[in-house]
């Protein structure tokens, strides 16, 4: 763990200070012949929210989805590098990607509840893992942690698709945390939500980081400043004719936004992107 963590200090001494849960070292990520991301060291710290920001096509989602091997579902995807998780390389030859995803959960951009009841949605992962304990209690706990319990406790048998967008996203978060994963990856979880629902999900994230480690891709820089402890800024390199993303710099959110070390970061932050 420490040895892995130290390798990141070489590249970016400010990137991580605490205990690193996932130490991601990307050498190259390909989609077919297309080089999507290169040379990026992204340590994810325990009980913190790591925000990934950057312009479209900079590879931040690709890197996030590489952490739990979601990209394996794309046939032409190829990952070169390592993702060290509790001392094991997630891309190691003996690793089952299905098991990786049970420890490193995921919340997606579009709320994607299953077309089953609210209860069954939350219980899905527990049943999948043949959970033997009190299912009702765990479902209630997950919904409470996702700040959804009070709104749905009287209609647990209703379809998950009957909820509003913000509620659906919190349901998906409840579903993801019901199995108590170690790390939660969130790929622009608020981009399909209105400001009120966004605020609720953000408050939820801040609450969740006490128990989980979160990594968050966001297009909204204000969101990064509101919730992320550490921010990673990615950019696109078009110098070789392609569009290859890479990590420009990473550090405590305040430092990235107030005193970035790289000119690219400064330009991006000061521009009125969001």
């Amino acid at each position: 763990m420490n040895a892995a963590a130290e390798s990141t200090f070489v590249a970016d001494p400010y990137a991580a200070v605490g205990e690193v849960v996932i130490d991601c070292q990307v050498n190259k990520i390909f989609y077919g012949d297309f080089l999507a991301v290169r040379d990026s060291l992204v340590p994810i710290e325990k009980h913190k929210i790591t925000g990934f920001i950057g312009p479209s096509g900079c590879g931040k989602s690709t890197v996030l989805r590489s952490l739990n091997r979601m990209n394996d579902l794309i046939q032409v995807f190829r990952f070169e590098g390592s993702v060290m998780y509790h001392g094991q390389d997630v891309y190691g030859p003996k690793v089952d990607p299905v098991l990786v995803r049970r420890y490193i959960g995921m919340v997606f951009q579009q709320p994607n509840p299953f077309s089953m009841s609210i209860y069954d949605n939350v219980a899905f992962g527990l049943r999948l893992n043949r959970f033997k304990g009190d299912l009702d209690e765990r479902v209630q706990k997950a919904l409470q942690r996702a700040a959804l319990w009070n709104e749905v406790k009287d209609k647990l048998k209703n379809s998950g698709l009957s909820l509003s967008g913000g509620q659906q996203q919190r349901l998906c978060i409840a579903r993801a945390i019901a199995t108590e994963p170690d790390v939660l990856l969130m790929d622009e979880p608020c981009s399909a939500l209105d400001p009120i629902a966004t605020r609720q999900v953000e408050e939820l994230m801040l609450d969740l980081k006490k128990n989980y480690t979160l990594a968050l891709v966001t297009h909204n820089m204000q969101q990064a400043t509101r919730v992320a402890d550490t921010t990673a800024f990615f950019s696109v390199d078009i110098s070789h004719g392609g569009r290859t993303g890479y990590l420009v710099e990473m550090g405590p959110t305040a430092q990235i936004f107030e005193a970035p070390r790289e000119q690219l970061t400064k330009d991006y932050i000061s521009g009125q992107f969001s």
Partner: protein, 301 residues
Amino acid sequence: MSDFDLTRSSEAARPMPQLARQGFEARALKSGLLTGLTWLAALLAAVPLISVMYLLLVKGGSRLFGADFAEVLTGLPPAGFELGGGIGPAIVGTLVMVGIASVLSIPIGILAAIYLGVLEPRSRLANTSRFLAKVLTGFPSIMAGVFVYAVLVIHWGYSAWAGGIALAVLMLRTVVLAAEEAIAQVPQRMKDAAYGMGCTRTQVIWKVVLPTGLPGILTGVLLAVAGAAGESAPLLFTALFSNYFISELSEPTASLSILIYNFSGMPFPNQIELAWTASLVLVLIVLMFNILARLIVQPKV
């Protein structure tokens, strides 16, 4: 300058906006005419089924809903000049052969659809298979009968098995294409969610794809069953006909459609009346499956 002086344009300079409906304006007339035409076309589309149902009810209803309906539904077909009798063997035979066809074609069809829709949608095998299933849609149903005749009947004789297999050939295409359609419509994000929770591919299919696509799959299955129940051509060469209740699957078997074909050509009024009754029963069976299919796809609130 004064030409473009917007501040001076007064209400007097512009006519009052005319918002009342102009019934006899050219475009209003055209719109009314076209609306009427589509209305008429929609009505015409409903005419065949309604008139067929009417005719069947008039001609066959008296026997089916009459005093001796039990005999009609369970009795043996009458011989020439004999009165009374029923279509029992044909009803049972049709149900048995449609059952055989369903047992054969539904599992194969759904498994094929899983391959086409989830596992390898873009592979060469999938493309070929999908194309062939579509070709089979336009395949004359009598060819299924001829095919099974050549492969099975020549060696083992006419049987319910042969009839069921011929119907299965015809059902397969409907089941495969409808189930693939239903499976393909399961949103990718639902599958992503399942993978993201640590589902294996098998679990994604069993726990998410099939339950979510189930209404569509069932609709396809029921339409296939309804279609098979009404087929006659494939049964001519395979199940032939029988005047008795089926006792073994390996013997010639009666079916409603063949009974209609046989009896409607006979010179006896009793048989002709029974042919009408059998037509009504057949249409009611088909209608029942269609209505079931409709009920299943209705969204749950």
